[in-house]
Subunit: 405 residues, 2 copies
């Protein structure tokens, strides 16, 4: 490799390992605490965290005091020129050859927290493979793909209060499921994951105003991994006609590190091929997806792997659609991409699809699974592969605890 | 009327008028500002507002400094013992015979604001008449009432950011509607209201915990009127399978005064007769509804009037169901009751029902209407009739402005 092609390197330990999710090209934002000090903002690099609050206290960075807060919302609200300036400054401070004065904390000494106060949470349905596969299971093949699916990003408002950070245990929910003679009170027996990305809105919009796809793109701060835990039996009984409700409210797990849009920029690519032209308000002037490996594990075993570029609607299109009726969007809104599923069984982002509604078990470490059992741990992963480095998300895990009956 | 039966009276002007919504028996909470001072908390009585921030500054009341804030959330979070104590103290301070020292502001000199920061907004579907009528129009009579309807309060998460206070103009939304050959970009042509009550959650619950109906009842601070503006043509095209989304995000109007649960207590009554027994987690130990007239006007003409006691699920049952999967509930969550419709045409809480999906126009001040036209103003009203007084909600109005194309 010629010197000109060498990726930018950092003086921070571990950051130049090609398998590390957090090279100097990434610089994802999060919130961490240490034994001696409460939650504040940080940036991951190698095996370390840049203590942004300490950087600001020492005059290395200026973010109007927002780094010494327990959520990133106030920093994000400062706007894109500040995001860009901080990224540029951090890149200079952390590059090989710079003075090694940046205050760092070892990741192993830190506890990671929910990075944002989730203002509102919306979940979409933007993988055509997933929409078709799940549609077959809920409604049969002839009604599988709803008629508006190829014309708009279908979404629903989720519950923000149940969004938790990676590593938080989730109780199997109790609820109503369909019995032979009316509903039955039961622990969920068809507990599932959904492999998604979550886009974090970084700017407000005004009530009564629409947002173009290009404007929407400028409003997105970054992305997290997102597991939208789903109680399929509760969902099947409750979801008509107003959509999923308690089936999706048991918990939604997101990764602690927000990978910025700037870090993903080199991986921009087209998504799935369009079946029909979109209405002008949903058209984008450039590709809105990222060439990025995504997948999930159960109890450490890799179950599925696909690419984010299988998706049909980008986060920017989803955000534009979200405001089409004049709905105001706010800093900290979280938009789930929808389950990311490729066409093959080992590319599906949910057990419902992988096991064909529980009919075809899969093997996990020698044991059969249709849905999630108590004690099972689900992990999501994603990274975009650069030349000699990768921009990754780090882990996004959650373990299922028994139901509280 | 014997002295013993006389209702409690106040020294405040207008409070003893039997047609006044705000007698001493009511004491609803809100947020107001005046020319000389910004938003702070108040209580309505007669034609006046008790300046609670000034009361606290003068040492008459103690709410830990929460009254001098632009939303009621912090006061509400202090909990039920504080709500009860403040109500008792205000009743003593405002009763006929008390020293007339309470700082008052004329309602005509005040601007009213959104009383709470809406944490999250959930809307239910709890009038059987409404569910059946709308079900017939969307899905035909054989699939009108979903099979789970009599077993659970069906609800969906709405959008909190578009909740506005009475008097806020709303733009007719643009959006996708179904055309003969795919979707068409259009202003909404079937714009509707929904007459609802909104319950305001006054206490947090823990993730992974359920709430009994009796506990839920203790968690409700009070009620507002709520108009869930609905774009029926956008809704029909978008709502399957994940529920209404942009059709309900153009705006939701609530009344500025929160009528407390304590003020409604004398009017507690049964709701609609149960078709089947509920699962234990939804059973209540006492009646959960209020004998309360509710209705709506268009351009000043009364269109419909019914009673809140036609409802099938109470707000406490809705709150218990909302947490059944372990979803944490938070102070400031707003739960829409669902459209309140009686069985007759002049008792319906939405134009969709009243006009049978636009087929049977109604006459408003000599003009035909099927759905809402630009410039139309919708008003909601509600009051519970006591002996010689009434506990009312005051106005909840909104005017529709033309679409921004």
């Amino acid at each position: 490799m010629a010197m000109a092609d060498m990726p930018l390197r950092s003086w921070v330990a571990g950051a130049n390992d090609p398998a590390c999710d957090f090279p100097i090209q990434n610089l994802p934002f999060g919130v961490f605490s240490t034994a001696d000090r409460g939650p504040r903002c940080g940036v991951a690099i190698g095996q370390m965290i840049v203590d942004l609050a300490a950087c600001e206290a020492q005059g290395m960075l200026d973010a109007a005091g927002t780094f010494d807060r327990p959520r990133l919302n106030d920093f994000i609200a400062l706007g894109r020129p500040v995001w860009d300036r901080i990224r540029e400054q951090l890149t200079a401070l952390l590059a090989e050859g710079a003075d090694q004065t940046v205050p760092l904390v070892a990741m192993s000494d830190a506890t990671l927290h929910l990075p944002i106060r989730v203002t509102e949470f919306t979940d979409f349905y933007a993988s055509k493979n997933h929409a078709f596969n799940v549609g077959v299971l809920f409604r049969g093949p002839e009604n599988a793909l709803p008629p508006q699916w190829t014309h708009m990003p279908i979404g629903y408002n989720g519950r923000a209060s149940s969004v938790v950070v990676s590593g938080t245990d989730i109780h199997r929910p109790m609820g109503q499921v369909k019995g032979e003679d009316g509903p039955v009170w039961s622990p969920c027996k068809r507990l599932d994951l959904e492999l998604e990305l979550g886009a974090i809105v970084g700017a407000d919009s005004q009530m009564g105003s629409r947002i173009s796809v290009d404007q929407a793109e400028q409003m997105i701060f970054g992305y997290v991994l997102l597991n939208d835990w789903s109680a399929r039996d509760i969902q099947a009984w409750e979801y008509q006609p107003l959509g999923p409700f308690q089936a999706k409210a048991l918990g939604t797990t997101i990764s602690p590190w927000i990978v910025t849009q700037a870090a993903l920029e080199p991986f921009r690519c087209d998504g799935a091929e369009r079946v029909n032209p979109l209405l002008p308000y949903l058209q984008e002037s450039r590709p809105g997806f990222y060439d990025m490996t995504v997948g999930w594990t159960m109890n450490g075993q890799r179950m599925s792997q696909t690419n984010y570029n299988v998706m049909y609607y980008s986060s920017a299109q989803q955000l534009a659609h979200h405001a089409v009726s004049g709905c105001p969007m706010r800093v900290g809104d979280l938009l789930g991409s929808g389950t990311i599923s490729g066409p093959e069984r080992d590319q599906t982002g949910a057990l419902l699809e992988m096991t064909e509604g529980g009919k075809s078990p899969v093997t996990v470490n020698g044991e059969d699974r249709t849905f999630i059992q108590d004690g099972d741990e689900i992990g999501l992963f994603a990274h975009a592969q650069g030349d000699g480095y990768r921009v990754g998300f780090g882990p996004c895990t959650g373990k299922i605890l028994p139901a509280v009956e």
